[in-house]
């Protein structure tokens, strides 16, 4: 067991290093940091001095190492566009994105599983057909379009909900939250639905497909042949076996929610890290791009690790503790 954990952690570290290499290459080789920082008028001597100071004349390997060392302590440089330390920028915007991601993830998970189970157990009902058709539309609708349409219906026509921003926020320690004010809660609703709809549709279709697959298995037929009630068969046996792959894939979705937040934040002018990233791509603000890349990679790697460990804990077949192959 511990060998497995160590191996996975080692893999994660390797992935982070690889991503770090990409981020570093971006940082160092794309564009000219000196030119960007000093502008056109600086003299050759000044430039040479800056080069030296920034360590740009050292061997590449050392530059990479120092980049990674600085990254480990949170120093990602200064944003070209905003002239502020990148880490500060990211940290100040992180709570907004995380709140959005968590709320929409929760919505997607709960609704997705419920609807998935329902449509699997009631394959031929009218409601199931309706839900499945709507889900197909959900998968075909780009996230931004959902957001725009929701804004149109609820903010422009009905005027029930705000169309941009977080509303009023409250500072709880270092965390700026919008969940404690009515306007904050109203503001998070549309973005959360927008972000979560696609995920919910995916989860629902996944749960349905998995459950239908599981219901075809022999142990389900045997369970029925033993006289177990439908409830026990469906929820005790079928659901448990469905959840194993569902949980892993859903966990992986959490990471992509944080990435998809880029789109939602743009549509709703939500002040999170996603909006920051888009602006940095538009303005070629390399330090921010590189930092965002590392951050997202870290999130994904950690989530993957947790999901793998979870899988290991839930599926007894993966645990090779005692072998009892006797006749």
């Amino acid at each position: 067991m511990t060998a497995y954990i160590l191996r996975r952690i080692a893999q994660s570290v390797i992935v982070m290093l690889a991503v770090g290499l990409v981020a570093f290459s971006l940082f160092r080789f794309v564009g000219d940091p000196v030119a960007t920082m000093m502008g056109q008028e600086a003299s050759q001597a000044d430039r040479a001095e800056l080069r030296d100071r920034l360590g740009l004349n050292d061997p590449v390997f050392i530059q990479f190492a120092s980049y990674m060392a600085r990254a480990a302590t949170g120093d990602f440089g200064i944003s070209y566009r905003l002239q502020q330390p990148v880490l500060e920028l990211i940290v100040s915007r992180l709570p907004a994105t995380l709140e959005l991601a968590l709320i929409s993830g929760f919505l997607a998970f709960v609704l997705g599983i419920t609807l998935g189970v329902y449509t699997a157990l009631n394959r031929t009902g009218w409601w199931s057909g309706f839900i499945m058709t709507t889900s197909l539309i959900g998968v075909s609708l780009p996230t931004f379009l959902i957001g725009v349409l929701l804004i149109w219906v609820f903010a422009v026509e009905l005027q029930w909900l705000p169309s941009f921003g977080r509303g009023e926020t409250v500072d709880v320690g270092f965390w700026r939250t919008g969940l404690l004010t009515p306007s904050g809660r109203a503001s998070i609703l549309l973005p959360a639905i927008t972000l979560g709809l696609y995920q919910m549709t995916l989860i629902m279709r996944l749960v349905r497909a998995e459950m239908l697959e599981v219901l075809r298995n022999d142990y389900i037929k045997f369970a029925r042949a033993r006289g177990l009630t439908d409830r026990t068969v469906h929820f005790g046996h079928a659901l448990k076996n469905t959840m194993v792959p569902v949980i892993t894939i859903t966990g992986l979705q959490l990471g992509s929610i944080i990435a998809f937040a880029i789109i939602t934040e743009t549509v709703f002018q939500w002040p999170g890290v996603g909006a920051l990233f888009i602006n940095s791509v538009q303005f070629v603000d390399i330090p921010v791009m590189a930092a965002y890349l590392m951050l997202i990679a870290l999130v994904f790697v950690v989530i993957n690790l947790i999901v793998d460990l979870l899988y290991y804990a839930v599926d007894p077949r993966l645990r090779v503790e005692r072998s009892h192959a006797t006749h």
Partner: protein, 313 residues
């Protein structure tokens, strides 16, 4: 002799009509509608220069006074009727949609084609060579697969743009976009092709061909590739929908096609700015077109996957 050939040809069609694949197509009216819709949109987009009532990108023909005309109502100044209205610069919405769909489809198809060729190539090489080439490639694929493709496309696009001198950025934008979306999508193809190729590779006729001395590339192309095209087609169809959505998203975010060649995503972005002032048609019609396109391609892909899945028969 001629009659016999003709009869054979007729039999071919009747047999095809009766085949499981076509039968399942006929059974699902929804899918037929989807196929029809896709064909209509594709045709309209391809023929855009011929059938668009106005040329929305020729500044000489644009009349600012015609701006903000609602659909089907005569313009206050010139009395012109535009089927779907005009936008803020007097461009006919119907025409912009036709040209926009053209760009969207062009990028979408090209991106999927790129991803397919790349994916098939990597999959075949990986399966045929095996060894460390295989494990490295699949490692890379796994890692890439765990990141959302939109992020990868954004990244590639951002990097490419910063590498290209400003003067060329607009020209190259569409190609960079195609490569970015394609590179974010090749993994599915590679995996499926690799899996199927490994299965074929272990079959005896391949080993026999190798023993005779047939060149590997020939074996791969003539034997393995045809057996793999079924699942590839399914992935390509669904991938097309994803590519269209990806392009629309990137263009909406402002990091896609250049403003001089607006795609459906760009149009929607423009339209969003006018939501609050009440000119709803600027955003509605491009949105409906995009939705119709993505939905029908998705339906086709779904149906294809179910129809080609032996387990469900």
């Amino acid at each position: 002799m001629q009659l016999i050939k003709m009869r054979d040809r007729m039999n071919f069609f009747t047999n095809a009509w009766d085949s499981d694949l076509v039968w399942s197509f006929r059974q699902a009216p929804l899918v037929m509608v989807a196929a029809l819709m896709t064909t209509v949109i594709v045709l309209a987009a391809v023929l855009a220069p011929l059938i668009a009532p106005h040329d929305p990108f020729n500044p000489a023909t644009l009349n600012l006074m015609d701006g903000f005309t609602p659909p089907m109502t005569p313009n206050a100044m010139s009395g012109q009727v535009y089927l779907l209205g005009t936008d803020n610069q007097g461009r006919d919405i119907l025409s912009t949609i036709l040209y926009g769909a053209r760009i969207s489809l062009f990028v979408g198809f090209s991106a999927v084609l790129f991803a397919m060729v790349l994916g098939i190539f990597v999959g075949l090489v990986s399966a045929w060579r095996g060894g460390w080439i295989d494990s490295t490639l699949m490692r890379v694929a796994d890692i890439q697969l765990s990141f959302p493709s939109i992020l990868i496309a954004l990244l590639i696009f951002g990097v490419a743009r910063s590498l290209i001198p400003v003067a060329y950025r607009e020209q190259m934008a569409i190609w960079v976009l195609i490569v970015a979306i394609g590179l974010s999508d090749w993994v599915q193809f590679a995996r499926v092709v690799r899996g199927a190729a490994l299965v074929e590779k272990s079959k005896e006729y391949v080993q026999a061909a190798q023993a005779i001395g047939v060149r590997p590339s020939r074996i791969v192309l003539t034997h393995i590739l045809p057996n793999v095209m079924g699942p590839v087609l399914v992935i390509a169809t669904i991938g097309l929908a994803l590519a269209i959505i990806a392009e629309a998203t990137l263009s909406f975010l402002g990091v896609g096609v250049p403003p001089t060649q607006p795609s459906l995503g760009t149009l929607i972005r423009i339209g969003q700015g006018f939501l609050f002032s009440g000119e709803w048609w600027i955003i509605l019609f491009p949105s409906l077109t995009l939705l119709a396109l993505a939905l029908s391609v998705n339906l086709l892909g779904d149906w294809l996957r179910d129809a080609l899945n032996p387990k469900l028969k």
